[in-house]
Structures are given as structure tokens and as C-alpha cells.
Symmetry: C2
Subunit: 526 residues, 2 copies
């Protein structure tokens, strides 16, 4: 494992500081030293990206697909070397990281499929009407073209699927944008392995080398320079509200405006309706104990808030959920910083007026450090409404149950909720119509509405929306998961009366790529 920064697919030495990774389950340093990048390296990465973009933006979808598949193959070839290192650096179980490796390579291949199919460019053609009066109509053709170099921030909670070769990188490459990754310092070794895999894939598939760079830093200097760099044309980030807003503030210091997509998590309210609580309390308790504690609660879609109307059935459900939570074994949290924050924020929430602890996991593994302790709390809706602090995210396996006196008070609770990635409703289908108004209000605050399931688990597909009204993300019009994630990094370009042979193939008369296009307001392959 080489701990040097990667500039344009090649290692580059830096003479400044170095750092090591930490095993959060033992609190000890791991093998390998990583070099902190500097201003010269950041400039080099962006200069190389700018030059690579000249070629990359005209690279065919088929060639880009070959590159993406090569990255997937390189990652698969790393196999247990990668999973083992990721386990050491993240404290996540091997099975989870194996699954995440599958998701990561699956995402890369999904974008390769999208590029090979080709219609994602949204080709729109309005043909000329030279005889139109009073003015002839010109021929206008439009399709998506890439923005330019994209800065991607690795996320701590998905060391593979939302890090160096994760969804942001895959979608930016697919768009035709060079990528500069700022490594998350919690998993530098995992990043080094994946960074080398991308570099090898780029070289093997004859991509311009500036297509990829990767930089290490333990502080904020590299991040700041990357976001403010004049050649950076977009930024993608998944992480905390504080982190996301810090990037937004940095971008505000630029002379120009660029898109900064920050997915900042949320508390993902879950609404339990009365009939469901009456008929399915066993199933729901088991399901929700598992969802709240999955991955030590370290998901942006973790259900941090449960909403229900008081009833004897609710009490029963609470008892069952409490037992399940108490029995949940502890798990290693991703970093000591996240663990400390979880202790601080969960204690602070328990100390709020009216908040009661329902259950707390007591099965703490004393052989390991940074162990999470799952918890469910409850509060009356009146107290929740009076205290905005209870709406803040506690990153970890904690969920707050808000108990309303009646449906009217439940509506009041929903009315004060900020934007969310997901909202889940647990109900018998027969009772849904009675809550139509409430469901309608819930739809205005979320990117995804889920019925009778859990919000953890984000399907990677065309219909997925992962991004919601602020503060869940910086721009609710985009998603960071699924094929549509590519649209964060492209813009439409229109050609008017342009010479057919000089148009991109996607817009040529003969439709040589045989893609679906909108021609004179009609979808066709003609």
C-alpha cells in the first residue's frame, strides 16, 4: 500500500506531514503512512483535470463504459485485501463491506450500462421550418454535456460505496468529468487501494491521466483549496450538516457560482398508524430495532424519529421494541470522533425536558473501543413541538418516539419537520385514506416516501431519489444515488443550424447510436 497522493493517475511525493489510520475497534494505529497533500499538488491535480477534460468531454459513452467496467474489475481483483483493510479502518463487519463492495462495483456497471444504452443525454431535436411565417424556424438540437472537473469528498460511513470509487465518482466519470477525490482520513488505506485501482483502470483503457487524482489531508486546507479552485466546476459531498454547510460557505468565496451538491442526512421520520400497531406490533418492533441499529445507526437514512398517536397498542409496540433494543449487541462506531459525538448528542437529548429513556442496549462488548449503545427515547408531542433541539440529527443508533394525543396533534408535529431524505409510513392499507392530508403534508418535506418498510436500504436504480428538501440536501432537484445522479454534473448545450457531421453522434440526423430522442416533441428512435 502506497501512501502517496495520486496526481493524474500517478503517485507524487509530498514533503509535509504524514498520518496513520486508526482501528476504531481497538484504538490503535494501523500499518501504512499517508502523506498530507499541499497547495502545489492541488494545483497540479486541477491543471491535469482541466487538460484531461478537453479529451474526456468528447469521449464516447462506449469508451467511458469500458473505463467504468475496468474500475469495477480492478476493485473485484483486490478482493479480501480491500475488505480486510476496510474492516480494520471502519470497524464495520466484513459481510457488510463485502456487500458494499458489490454495491460499489454494481454502481460502476450500472453507469456503464447507462452510457452504452446512450439515451441518458436527453437528446432533443426541433427541426427547421424554413417556410414558417413571420420568421423561419431554425433547426435546434440539444443534449447534455459534462461540466468539467468535479471534486468528490469521501464519506466515512460508506468507505467503498460513497468514497473514492463510490456513487459520486462513478456518476461524474460517466458524465465525462475528471474527478479529484479528497480522501476521508478515517479510511486512507482503503482509499489508497481503490485509488490505485482507478488509476490502473484509467491507464489500461487509455483515458487521459488527468481524469483522476486523489489527495490526503487530516485537516481542512486541502478541502478549502479544492472547493475554491477556479478550475473546479462542481462538488459532491455526503456527510454531516455542519460539513456540508462548510463546503457551501467555501464555495461562496469563489468569484463564480458552481453547483455544490451536499447530502447532509436527516432524521427520517417514521409514522406508525394505529391499525398497523394493533395488528403487526411484533413484526414492526423487530423490523425497527434492526433498522435503528443497522451499521450502528450510521446511515443518512437511519430512522431517528418515530411518530405515533397514543394508544394501548402503541404501549405494546414500545415494550416489544424496548426488549429488542436492549438485546442489541454493541457495535464499533466508525471513528472515535463519531463515537464521542454520539455520546454527547444522545446524552444531551436525554436531558431535554420531557424526554424519557425507553430502552438502552446494555450488551456492550468491553473488549473493543468506540462501542455504540443503541437507545430509544420518548417524548410527548407537546414537548417536541416546544423544543427545536429535538429535531436535530443524532448520528448513531438512537431513535426518538414522539407521542401525539390525537391526529390533529400529529399534523402539528409534521408541520414543523424540516426537509428529509425519507419519510416512512407503517399502516394497514385500509387506514391510509383517513390520513390523506397528513400523507400529503409528509410528501412536501421528503425526497422519498416509503410504505411498510424501513428507510435504511437505498436501492440503486433509475427511480431512486436520494436527496430531499433542505436541510437533507443542498438542492432537492438532484439525487446522489441511482442513474439520475449523473445529472448533477452535466448541462444542456444547444446547437442551432449546425453542420450534421460536426454534431455529436447523439444529435446527428441518422441517429447512428440508435438512441431514444425527442424529435419535434415526440419520443422516437427515428
Amino acid at each position: 500500500m502506497i501512501g502517496e497522493n495520486i496526481i493524474a493517475c500517478n503517485y507524487r511525493k509530498a514533503s509535509g506531514g504524514r498520518f496513520k489510520a486508526t482501528d476504531p475497534s481497538k484504538g490503535i494505529e494501523l500499518d501504512g503512512e499517508f502523506e498530507v497533500a499541499n497547495e502545489v499538488l492541488v494545483d497540479s491535480a486541477l491543471e491535469a483535470a482541466k487538460n484531461a477534460f478537453v479529451q474526456l468531454k468528447n469521449t464516447s459513452g462506449k469508451k467511458k463504459a469500458v473505463f467504468l467496467r475496468a474500475i469495477a474489475a480492478e476493485i473485484i481483483a483486490l478482493g479480501s485485501t480491500l475488505v480486510d483493510r476496510a474492516v480494520l479502518e471502519s470497524g464495520l463487519p466484513a459481510a457488510r463491506l463485502l456487500g458494499e463492495m458489490g454495491r460499489t462495483t454494481g454502481q460502476l456497471r450500472m453507469f456503464a450500462d447507462l452510457l452504452e444504452e446512450g439515451a441518458w443525454v436527453n437528446a432533443v431535436i426541433d427541426t427547421a421550418q424554413p417556410e414558417r411565417t413571420p420568421l423561419p424556424k431554425p433547426d435546434i438540437r440539444k443534449m447534455m454535456v459534462p461540466l468539467g472537473p468535479v471534486v468528490v469528498f469521501g464519506a466515512s460511513n460508506f468507505p467503498l460505496a460513497f468514497s473514492v470509487a463510490g456513487g459520486d465518482t462513478a456518476s461524474a466519470f460517466a458524465a465525462g468529468c475528471p474527478v479529484i477525490v479528497k480522501v476521508h482520513p478515517a479510511h486512507p488505506g482503503t482509499s489508497a487501494l481503490v485509488g490505485e485501482a482507478i488509476s490502473r483502470a484509467a491507464q489500461a483503457t487509455e483515458m487521459p491521466e488527468g481524469v483522476f487524482s486523489m489527495l490526503y489531508d487530516t485537516g481542512y486546507a486541502v478541502a478549502a483549496q479544492l472547493v475554491k479552485h477556479p478550475e473546479t466546476k462542481a462538488v459532491a459531498f455526503t456527510g454531516s450538516f455542519k460539513g456540508g454547510m462548510a463546503l457551501i460557505e467555501l464555495a461562496r468565496q469563489r468569484e463564480d457560482l458552481i453547483p455544490v451538491f451536499t447530502e447532509m442526512g436527516s432524521i427520517n421520520p417514521v409514522l406508525f398508524l394505529p391499525e398497523a400497531l394493533k395488528n403487526k406490533s411484533d413484526e414492526l418492533a423487530a423490523k425497527y430495532a434492526a433498522s435503528i441499529t443497522l451499521g450502528a445507526g450510521q446511515f443518512c437514512t437511519n430512522p431517528g424519529l418515530m411518530l405515533a398517536i397514543q394508544s394501548a397498542d402503541l404501549d405494546q409496540f414500545v415494550t416489544k421494541l424496548s426488549v429488542a433494543i436492549e438485546d442489541t449487541p454493541s457495535a464499533t462506531m466508525l471513528t472515535n470522533g463519531i463515537w464521542e459525538n454520539y455520546q454527547k448528542l444522545s446524552s444531551a437529548m436525554m436531558a431535554q425536558a420531557g424526554v424519557t429513556l425507553l430502552a438502552k442496549s446494555t450488551a456492550v462488548n468491553s473488549d473493543c473501543t468506540n462501542q455504540s449503545s443503541a437507545a430509544v427515547l420518548k417524548v410527548k408531542a407537546a414537548d417536541f413541538l416546544a423544543n427545536p433541539k429535538l429535531q436535530e440529527e443524532v448520528f448513531g443508533p438512537l431513535s426518538l418516539l414522539v407521542i401525539a394525543d390525537d391526529q390533529a396533534q400529529l399534523e402539528q408535529v409534521v408541520a414543523v419537520l424540516p426537509g428529509q431524505l425519507t419519510v416512512t409510513v407503517l399502516a394497514e392499507k385500509s387506514e391510509l385514506p383517513a390520513y390523506r392530508h397528513l400523507l400529503d403534508n409528509l410528501s412536501t418535506i421528503t425526497g422519498r416516501l416509503i410504505l411498510n418498510s424501513v428507510p435504511t436500504g437505498v436501492e440503486v436504480c433509475a427511480a431512486m431519489q436520494h436527496g430531499g428538501p433542505f436541510p437533507a440536501s443542498s438542492d432537492s432537484r438532484f439525487t446522489s444515488v441511482g442513474t439520475a445522479a449523473i445529472y448533477r454534473f452535466v448541462r444542456p448545450l444547444a446547437w442551432q443550424d449546425w453542420e450534421d457531421s460536426l454534431l455529436p453522434e447523439e444529435l446527428q440526423n441518422a441517429n447512428p447510436l440508435n438512441i431514444w430522442r425527442m424529435v419535434n416533441n415526440r419520443w422516437t428512435k427515428e
Copy 2:
């Protein structure tokens, strides 16, 4: 004509200041007094919009289409009353304003067509795979839903097509968003007539009254309150760079992030290639004299910059263009402020090192005030490269010809140009391949590439892109002209395992609207 503010489709008195419109061609005040809005009215407008949104967001495309067509019909019914008032307030000729009325009603009907067709919501359906291992795949369905109340700023240079019922308003209504218009103070009477037309149409088609409000102000207080208001969910603006950036800065004072689409104009470079200059100098001179001076140069797509390599053919073209410019009659500019700014900025540009006046229109109509005088200037590429001030927009009928020594120097000029709405190339088709690299570079700085035509004249259609890399607009991923303008005001919402009967019709299994949808990665109406 009633000069009261319109709150939720009804007139509301304000006790503060009043103002009158000015005829820019005479410098005299016109009939009618308009009441300056205040904080209470802004709050009322947003509160009404918020409430209207609850109903509007669930209003079918067909019903919204009826509303849009009713607005068009009300505007047509105003006929010469509207055109006459717009002529008085803008100084633009009646023929132009009649055309603009046609464009305005055409845009409204275009969005009505889009809604009736229905596929614009981009319905994407991924059906469940309950048998999938290791995890079953849920059913996920996604479509576009409206953002909420949109604030629209009327633009001075299109008193109809980009003002009260212009493209921004039409696309926001089509999206399902209530609109609050801040009237441009240069044409309050025109706005009053159109505002009443919209109110009547809303009431006649049973829209919630909060769907539309309209506020007057001569200063910036109402604008600031509108942009910072918590219930405002998006902002649309067409105007100057300074004005657009002022709105961006106001939005930065919000606690949340909302999209602020500002179309801020550009200098729209026009590249003249040698063979075209040799073979078509008569045609090009006539075409460009007309394009530079159209509407007194008061278009965001006005060709403010011409680029060419020195040659005898260029000299010939310049001579012909100069004659045509000198012969151009003067025209009334939109406001005294715009006229003063044009005097100041054109004088400043003429005073820059190396800049020479090629021709100036001398046929000034002394019976009228605020008369534009068209001008073409020239400068050597070396001087242009050394002076960033020469890249700034002079709003009005002025164009600067930059003469390069050779193709290499032309490339240098293109390399320093900022983002543009349009780039035009005038060429013989046979010479285009030799400039492929230059054309490629031009494509990275613009939203629209035009061959052998003029940039003025923005076709309103599905393939149009009106918006370019910064500073042409605040977000190059969106357009303010054409059907795609609707996507500024919508976001995707995904439903997971949702009950079919509670889904929007666009996503129901039976596809009752019979729209094109992407089902399991395939376009179909099934």
C-alpha cells in the same frame, strides 16, 4: 387601470408611497399611480401562496393547462390596450410588442400543451423483485413535483414575454407553483393590465387565489423581503449581472438554500471565419448591423463581441458594416437609467487603450429623448487580451470587433472569454473542420452554438437552451426559455412500495394518462 398591489388575485390598498410610469421617448410621466408594497403585503402574498400550494400541487396537468390557456385568452382580449400602454412605457415599437404578445401567449399555450401531453413529469418506475437475493427489490416510482412558491422578477427588456405573465411565470405555474411577481418599475401599467388578466383567469378556472400575487416597488426593499422570505422556495430573474448577483447575495442571508435562477446576459461572441468573409460580406454586414441594433441592442443575446482574423476581406466587411451602422436610425431605449448607462459604458469602452471607433449611427431623432446611437468599435487581439474591461457587457447597440493576427491568437482570445448565453460562428461549411479545436473550446463556454445566423431571436421550443456557464447564468444546468424551463421549479419525489390508488395518476400501474414512462429502464406507454 388600477395601481394597487394584487394579493392572492385581489387588489389590496397600501398606504405608503406611490409612483408613476415614465414615457422614455418623451421623458414625461404617464397616467396612473402605483402603490409601493410593504412588509405586510409581502407576508400576505407568501402566506396565501403557501396555502394555495397545498391545493395547487395536487392539481392535474389538464386543469393547470386550462388556467394557462385562460391567461393567454385574457391577454389577447386586452389587445391594443395592452400594446399601446407597453409602447408608452417601454419606447419599443408597436410591431415588436405585438410580436412579444404573440410570444407571451404562445409560451403559455406551449406549457399548456406540455401539461396536457403529460410526460414532462419524467415518470420512472422500477418494479419490485420480491424473489431477488440477497435482498428483495422494492417497487420504486419517481416523478417531478413542484417546489412551492416562486418569486419572479419582471425584466425591463421584455415587458410582456419576460415579465408578469412571461416565461418564468408560465413555467412556474405549469410546474404547479404559486407565483409572486415583483413588477419591474419601468412598466407598471403594462404589469397592472397583465396582473389583472392573470387574476381573472385564476378566478375563472377555479385556481386557489393564492396562486398569484403581484407587488410594486421602486426600490429594493420588497425584492429583499421576497428573496429572504422563508416561504419562498425558488427565485427567477432575467437582467443585469449586478442585479442577478444582488439576488444571489440576498438568498445567502436565508437560513436554508433555495434555487435562485438568474439569467444575467452576456456579450455573445460572433466568430467570422475567412471564407465566409470573402464570399458573403454583403449579407453578413446587413445581417449583423440589424442584429446589433435590433431593439436598440437591448437583448441578452445581443452580439456585443465580434472575432475575426485580419484580412483584406475583413476590411471589406468592416466597411460595409460601418455604412449600415451609420445609417441605422436611433431608437428609444427602455429607460433613462439604461440610456445613461449605455452612454457611460460605451464612452468608457471607447476610451480603453487600442480601441477605435469604426462607425456610429448619426441619424438621431431629436424629437425624442433617450435615443440610442449604435456603434461598432475595433481593437487588436493583443489589446483585448491585456484588458479584462473589454469583456464586460455594454447593454445597448454596441459591438466590439476583436482582430487577431492569426488563428493561434484567435484561440487565445477564446480561451479568456467567460461563460456566454450564445456563441455564433459564421463560416463556409468547407472551412469548419480546420477550426475544430477552436469550435470545441467555444462549446465549453456557451449554452447555445449557432451557425450562420444571429444570436438575437430565441426560439421558444423543447430544444432551446437559454442559460450558459457563469456569468451568463447562475446555473448552467437550467434554461429560462423553452419547455425545459419548467425543471427549475420541480424536484423528483420517489414512492417506495406505495399503494397504487394513492399514487399520482402518472405513476399508477394502469397508466391512466397514457404517458411515456421509463419502466424498468425501458421507455414505454405500457
